[in-house]
C-alpha cells in the first residue's frame, strides 16, 4: 500500500530496576487510548481495562519483606498464541512487528483472550459509556471499541503513524530513537514514565538503544540465559512466544535468602 516504506520492528525494553509502580503509565495509556472508565463495579467483577498495568508481588515475610513491581502490557509476540486461535483472522502480526487487532473483524469469541498467557487482552462486555461532557476528551485518532469485541495495547500505533507521516514521508529519513523523542511520538506509557523505566525503539535499527538487549536475548536463548551479557529476559520465556518486550532484571542488593552481614 505504501511504497518504499522503511521496515520497522517496534519493541520495548522495561527496566525493572527503575520502575517505582507509580501508575503514570497506566493513566497516560487510558487517556491516550479511550479506555472505558474503570468504575468500582469493573474492579469488583475483575474486568478492569488496563492495557498496561502494574503488577505487585510480595517476597519474604515481615520485616524482611519486599514488594516488586512489573508493568505488563501486550508483549507483541512473534509467536503470538492469540493469533492462530482467532477464527476470523482479527488479530495478526503486521509489517511493523505489532500484534494488531482488527476491531471490525472481531466477532467476540474470546479465544484470543483465553490463549494469551499474559492476560493483556480485554473483552468489551458492555458498550463503553462516558458522561456527555467527558467525551470531549476522547482521542479522535483512536477507535472506540463497541460491545462484543476484544481490545488490547497497540503500542500507540496512532502515534507511530503520525510520526511516520511527519518524519518519513516528509524527509524520507528513518524514524529512529532520536526523532521519536524529538517529536514526542513514543507510546503514551513510555512518554509518561517518570523514571524512564520504559524504553521504546526499533529492533531493526542498529543504532537504537533497545537493540543491544534484543541482540543479547536473541543470541542466548532461555537455555543459555546465564551467558547473557545484559540483564535482559522475556516474560514467560520458556513458552517461546518471542515477545517484542524485554524486561531488565531488578537488581537486588540485599537478597532475602542471604545471611551475610549488612544493614
Amino acid at each position: 500500500m505504501v511504497t518504499n516504506r522503511i521496515d520497522h520492528k517496534w519493541g520495548m525494553v522495561v527496566d525493572l530496576d527503575k520502575c517505582t509502580g507509580c501508575q503514570a503509565c497506566v493513566v497516560a495509556c487510558q487517556a491516550e487510548n479511550n479506555l472505558p472508565i474503570n468504575t468500582k463495579d469493573f474492579f469488583l467483577q475483575k474486568r478492569a481495562y488496563e492495557w498496561i498495568r502494574i503488577e505487585r508481588y510480595w517476597e519474604g515475610e515481615y520485616p524482611n519483606v519486599k514488594a516488586r513491581f512489573i508493568p505488563v502490557l501486550c508483549q507483541h509476540c512473534e509467536n503470538a498464541p492469540c493469533e492462530p486461535v482467532c477464527p476470523v483472522y482479527a488479530t495478526y502480526r503486521n509489517d511493523d512487528g505489532l500484534n494488531v487487532q482488527i476491531y471490525n473483524r472481531c466477532v467476540g469469541t474470546r479465544y484470543c483472550i483465553n490463549n494469551c498467557p499474559y492476560q493483556v487482552r480485554f473483552f468489551n462486555f458492555w458498550q463503553p459509556n462516558w458522561p456527555e461532557r467527558l467525551k470531549n476528551q476522547l482521542n479522535p485518532d483512536v477507535t472506540i471499541r463497541t460491545r462484543g469485541i476484544t481490545e488490547k495495547c497497540t503500542f500507540c500505533v496512532q502515534r507511530l503513524r503520525r510520526a511516520e507521516l511527519q518524519v518519513e514521508r516528509v524527509s524520507g529519513e528513518r524514524l529512529n530513537d532520536e526523532k521519536l523523542k524529538a517529536g514526542n511520538y513514543a507510546p503514551a506509557c513510555t512518554q509518561a514514565c517518570p523514571t524512564n523505566a520504559l524504553m521504546f525503539g526499533d529492533q531493526n535499527d542498529a543504532e537504537s538503544k533497545i537493540r543491544p538487549y534484543f541482540d543479547d536475548v536473541n543470541t542466548f536463548d532461555i537455555h543459555h540465559e546465564e551467558e547473557r551479557t545484559t540483564r535482559g529476559y522475556r516474560l514467560l520465556e520458556e513458552i517461546n512466544t518471542r515477545p517484542s518486550i524485554i524486561y531488565l532484571k531488578k537488581v537486588d542488593q540485599y537478597p532475602l535468602n542471604e545471611d551475610e552481614d549488612h544493614v
Partner: protein, 770 residues
C-alpha cells in the same frame, strides 16, 4: 453428485493432495500473507493537532506540561520536555486534569445559597448579581476578610495577598499535610528560605526518613526522573543504594533496597546516632569542619546519642537485625552512608509530623554536612529567589496554630468574610479544630470560587466558579526550583465549553478591587496583562532561556516554551551554623502521642493526594501501588497482626482516636510494623460530584477528621502522625475493591523447586548488573 459429508471429506482429501502435488511439480509458490488488506482507522492520520505549553495544577508542584488540542478540545496532557522541573515527564495526576476540564458535574455558573447553610441547596444567579454581592460584602466587611487558597506562588500569590491587604484582610494558604516543619528545618539547618533541590541522579547513597518522595512528597515527578538515573543512569559506574526508614511501607519504601520499620517519631534519634558514629569514627568528609558543627566538642556533643543508647529506642524487629545488636546495626548503617559519597539524607512526611518533628528533620538534614553533600553534586542544591522583585517564590501556608486562631476569629466575629479558592479546609482540617462548626454563623459571609462542589463550598453563601487551569492564565516559581531561577507560565489552551460560564478567580479579584477603588497595588486589568508586564521585565533582564529581539517576540517564545529559566542564575551556598549539633541535641525530645493503642499513620494517596482529586475517575481508578485498592478507603494492618486480632480482609473495622472514629475495610499488608495502622487520605466526602462520593460511611472515610489538633513543637504545624488508635471490629464485612486477585500475589519462582524460569520478576545482584 449429491453433496454429502462423505463426499465433502473425499474432495477435501483430493484437494489437499493436489496442493502438495503442485508444489512437487515445481510450479512457483506464492507466499500467502495473512495480513489485512484493510487500512485500519488507526492507520489513517487525520486532522492536525496543536500542542500548547502550560502548567499543571493537579498537585501543588505545578509541573510544566504540553496539552494536545484538536478542534478546540484538549485531548492529552503530557510533560513539557523543556521544563526544567519535570523534564517531559508527568505523574498520573497530570493526565487526570483533563477530567476536571470536561467533568460532567462542573458548576456551570454563579450560584447563591437558598437553603440552610451546609444543606447544599443553591440556585443559579448571574455574574452581575454575584459580583455585586461580592462587592457589597467586601465594602461592608472587607476588614474582616480571610482569603484562603491552596499553596500558591508567583502572580496568583502576589495578587491574592495584595487583594487581601487592600481591604485590611489576610491571605492564607491551606494544605492538609503542609510542609511548614520541613521549611523550618531547612531554614534552621541551611539558613535558606526556599526549599532545596536534591541531586538524586548523582548520589550514591540515599537515606530517606519517612519522605514518600517517589509518590507524593514535595516534587515527586522531579525526584522520580532523578531516581531513574540514581538506579541505572547512563555512564554511572555504581548503582545507588537507597535505605528508607519509616514505620509504614510506602511506595517509596517498596523501591528502596532496604526498608527499616522504625518506631514512629524516633527518626531524629537515629539521625543523631548516625552522626555520633560518623564523628567518633572520623568518617566525615574531608571538607567538613566537625569542630564548628559541634561547638568544639566533637562526638561529646552527641554523648547522649551513642548507638548503645539509641539502638534499643528504635524497637527494630529482631528478624531484621539477624543476630546483630541494634547498636551494631546503627554503626554499620553510618559506615555505609558515610562510605558511599555523594550520600544524601532526606526526611519528611511522617518523620516531620510528630510533636518532635522539627528535631527529627533538623537531625536528618544536618547529616548532609557531615558527608559533605551540602551544595555539592549528588547532594543538596539551593535555590535563588524570584527573578522579578515582588513575585513570591515560596508559598505561604497556614499552620495548625494559624487555623486554630482563624476558627477562633470566626467564632468571635472578627473574621466576617471568608473567600475560599481551590482549598477545602472544612474537609482537610481535623474536626477537633472546629473549623466547619465555626462557619455556622449568620453574620459570616462565605464566597467559594471552586468549580466543583466540595465540603467548604457546600457551606458557602455565594459560589463564583473559577476557570480550570487549562482555560486560564497563571504563573509559578516552582518550589523547589532545579537550583536556578525558573518562572513557569500557564496559558489557556482551550476556551470553556459553551454551556459553562466560569470566570478567572484572579481576574475577578482584579476587577473587584478596581470597582471598589482598592486597586492601588493592583494596577492590572487582568492576569494576562500582569503576565505580559512580567514578560517585558524578563526581556529587559536580557538573560535566560528565551531569546528574542523584541518584547513581542519574547512573549511569544515565553508562551511556546512554557516559561523562562536561567541556568546561570544559581542559588546561594550554605554554611553550617556554629554549634549546629549542640542546638539540635538540645532540641531532642521524645514524640508525644494522643490516645492509646496502635500508631495511626495517615498518608497522602498516590493519585487522590489529600482528597483534591477525588472527583476525577482516572485518579479514583488508578490502583494504590502497594495494595492495588481503588475507589475506597482502607485500613492497612500487618498481615500477622491482623490474624492475631481476628480480622480478615474486607472486615469493616472501626478506628477510634481520642477525637472520634471512622470505619473502613481492613487490608492485610505483609509489610507493616505490627503496631502501626495506615489509612490513606482522600475519601469520605459527603458533598461533591458523584465520582467523589462513591461508597457509604463503611468504606469511604476521611481520616483527617479524627486527628487530634496537636502541633509540632517550634513550628505550629499539624502533628498528623501523633495519634494512637483503637481498632475494633464492627462485625460487618465487604469485598475490597482492588485490582489484584483474590489471593495476595507472591513471587512463586523461588518457592517451586527454586526454578528461576518460573519467576515473573527476575533479579540479579549489583555486581552482575549491566
Amino acid at each position: 453428485m449429491k453433496f454429502t459429508r462423505r463426499n465433502f471429506l473425499a474432495w477435501a482429501g483430493i484437494s489437499a493432495v493436489g496442493a502438495v502435488g503442485c508444489d512437487v511439480f515445481g510450479s512457483e509458490g506464492q507466499e500467502l500473507r495473512l495480513q489485512s488488506p484493510v487500512m485500519q482507522p488507526e492507520d489513517l492520520v487525520k486532522g492536525r493537532d496543536n500542542w500548547y505549553a502550560t502548567l499543571c495544577r493537579q498537585c501543588p508542584t505545578s509541573e510544566g506540561v504540553l496539552v494536545r488540542v484538536m478542534e478546540g478540545r484538549a485531548k492529552k496532557v503530557q510533560g513539557n520536555p523543556m521544563y526544567p522541573v519535570n523534564w517531559g515527564k508527568q505523574s498520573a495526576r497530570c493526565d487526570a486534569g483533563l477530567q476536571a476540564l470536561y467533568h460532567p458535574e462542573r458548576l456551570a455558573g454563579p450560584m447563591r445559597r437558598t437553603g440552610a447553610r451546609g444543606s447544599g441547596e443553591f440556585a443559579p444567579t448571574t455574574w452581575q448579581q454575584g459580583l455585586d454581592t461580592l462587592s457589597a460584602q467586601l465594602g461592608e466587611r472587607g476588614n474582616g476578610l480571610l482569603l484562603v487558597t491552596e499553596p500558591i506562588r508567583a502572580h496568583q500569590a502576589l495578587i491574592s495577598s495584595r487583594f487581601a491587604n487592600a481591604f485590611g484582610g489576610r491571605h492564607l494558604g491551606f494544605e492538609a499535610l503542609d510542609q511548614t516543619t520541613y521549611r523550618a528545618a531547612v531554614k534552621d539547618v541551611y539558613g535558606q528560605d526556599l526549599l532545596p533541590d536534591f541531586d538524586l541522579a548523582h548520589a550514591n547513597f540515599l537515606l530517606s526518613f519517612g519522605a514518600d518522595f517517589l509518590s507524593t512528597w514535595v516534587s515527586p515527578t522531579r525526584w522520580s526522573v532523578g531516581y531513574g538515573d540514581f538506579r541505572q543512569g547512563e555512564g554511572r559506574t555504581q548503582r545507588g543504594t537507597h535505605v528508607q526508614v519509616e514505620p509504614r511501607f510506602s511506595m517509596t519504601a517498596a523501591s528502596a533496597d532496604k526498608w527499616v520499620p522504625i518506631k514512629p517519631g524516633i527518626e531524629g534519634y537515629l539521625a543523631l546516632s548516625l552522626a555520633h558514629v560518623i564523628i567518633s569514627e572520623n568518617l566525615q568528609a574531608v571538607s567538613t569542619d566537625v569542630n564548628a558543627l559541634t561547638g568544639g566538642q566533637g562526638a561529646a556533643a552527641l554523648a547522649n546519642f551513642s548507638p548503645d543508647q539509641v539502638g534499643p529506642m528504635l524497637e527494630l524487629p529482631a528478624a531484621m537485625l539477624k543476630g546483630h545488636s541494634p547498636a551494631d546495626w546503627i554503626r554499620e548503617l553510618a559506615r555505609d552512608f558515610a562510605g558511599h559519597t555523594p550520600a544524601l539524607a532526606i526526611g519528611g512526611d511522617s518523620a516531620a509530623a510528630h510533636s518532635n518533628g522539627l528535631f527529627n528533620l533538623e537531625a536528618i538534614y544536618a547529616l548532609n554536612y557531615l558527608v559533605g553533600s551540602v551544595g555539592e553534586v549528588g547532594g543538596v542544591r539551593f535555590n535563588p529567589g524570584s527573578p522579578i522583585a515582588d513575585l513570591p517564590a515560596a508559598s505561604t501556608v497556614g499552620t495548625m496554630a494559624d487555623w486554630t486562631s482563624v476558627a477562633g476569629d470566626i467564632r468571635e466575629g472578627r473574621t466576617r468574610l471568608l473567600m475560599v479558592h481551590s482549598a477545602d479546609p472544612v474537609y482537610g482540617l481535623p474536626a477537633s479544630v472546629g473549623f466547619g462548626d465555626a462557619l455556622n454563623r449568620d453574620d459570616l459571609f462565605i464566597v467559594s470560587f471552586s468549580p466543583f462542589m466540595n465540603e467548604t463550598t457546600a457551606m458557602a453563601d455565594l459560589i463564583l466558579p473559577d476557570r480550570i487551569y487549562l482555560e486560564d492564565w497563571g504563573s509559578d516559581i516552582p518550589e523547589p526550583a532545579p537550583g536556578y531561577q525558573v518562572l513557569g507560565i500557564q496559558q489557556p489552551v482551550v476556551n470553556p465549553l459553551s454551556d459553562l460560564d466560569p470566570r478567572s478567580f484572579v481576574d475577578v479579584l482584579l476587577s473587584t478591587a478596581q470597582e471598589l477603588d482598592r486597586d492601588g497595588d493592583l494596577p492590572w486589568g487582568s492576569l494576562q496583562q500582569a503576565l505580559r508586564e512580567t514578560s517585558d521585565a524578563l526581556f529587559a533582564l536580557n538573560r535566560g532561556s528565551v531569546e528574542a529581539t523584541s518584547a513581542g517576540e519574547f512573549w511569544n517564545s515565553l508562551l511556546r516554551q512554557g516559561g523562562w529559566w536561567d541556568e546561570r542564575e544559581t542559588g546561594p551556598s550554605a554554611s553550617a551554623p556554629n554549634g549546629l549539633y549542640n542546638q539540635i541535641a538540645n532540641r531532642a525530645a521524645q514524640p508525644i502521642f494522643s490516645g492509646e493503642g496502635m500508631y495511626l499513620m495517615p498518608f497522602s494517596h498516590n493519585t487522590l493526594l489529600d482528597g483534591r482529586n477525588t472527583h476525577l475517575p482516572w485518579a479514583q481508578a488508578a490502583p494504590d501501588p502497594i495494595t492495588t485498592i481503588t475507589w475506597q478507603s482502607w485500613v492497612e494492618i500487618n498481615q500477622r497482626q491482623m490474624e492475631e486480632m481476628g480480622f480478615r480482609e474486607g472486615d469493616i473495622v472501626q478506628v477510634r482516636s481520642s477525637q472520634g472514629s471512622i470505619t473502613a475495610p481492613v487490608y492485610p499488608n505483609p509489610a507493616m510494623r505490627p503496631d502501626v495502622v495506615g489509612v490513606p487520605l482522600g475519601q469520605g466526602r459527603r458533598h461533591g460530584p458523584e465520582y467523589a462520593i462513591v461508597g457509604d460511611d463503611r468504606e469511604s472515610s476521611n481520616v483527617l477528621s479524627i486527628l487530634a489538633s496537636s502541633q509540632v513543637e517550634g513550628t505550629g504545624a499539624l502533628a498528623w502522625a501523633s495519634n494512637r488508635v483503637q481498632v475494633s471490629s464492627t462485625g460487618e464485612s465487604i469485598r475490597i475493591v482492588k485490582f489484584e486477585g483474590e489471593f495476595t500475589s507472591r513471587e512463586i519462582g523461588n518457592q517451586i523447586d527454586n526454578n528461576p524460569s518460573e519467576e515473573i520478576i527476575k533479579t540479579t545482584s549489583p555486581g552482575a548488573s549491566h
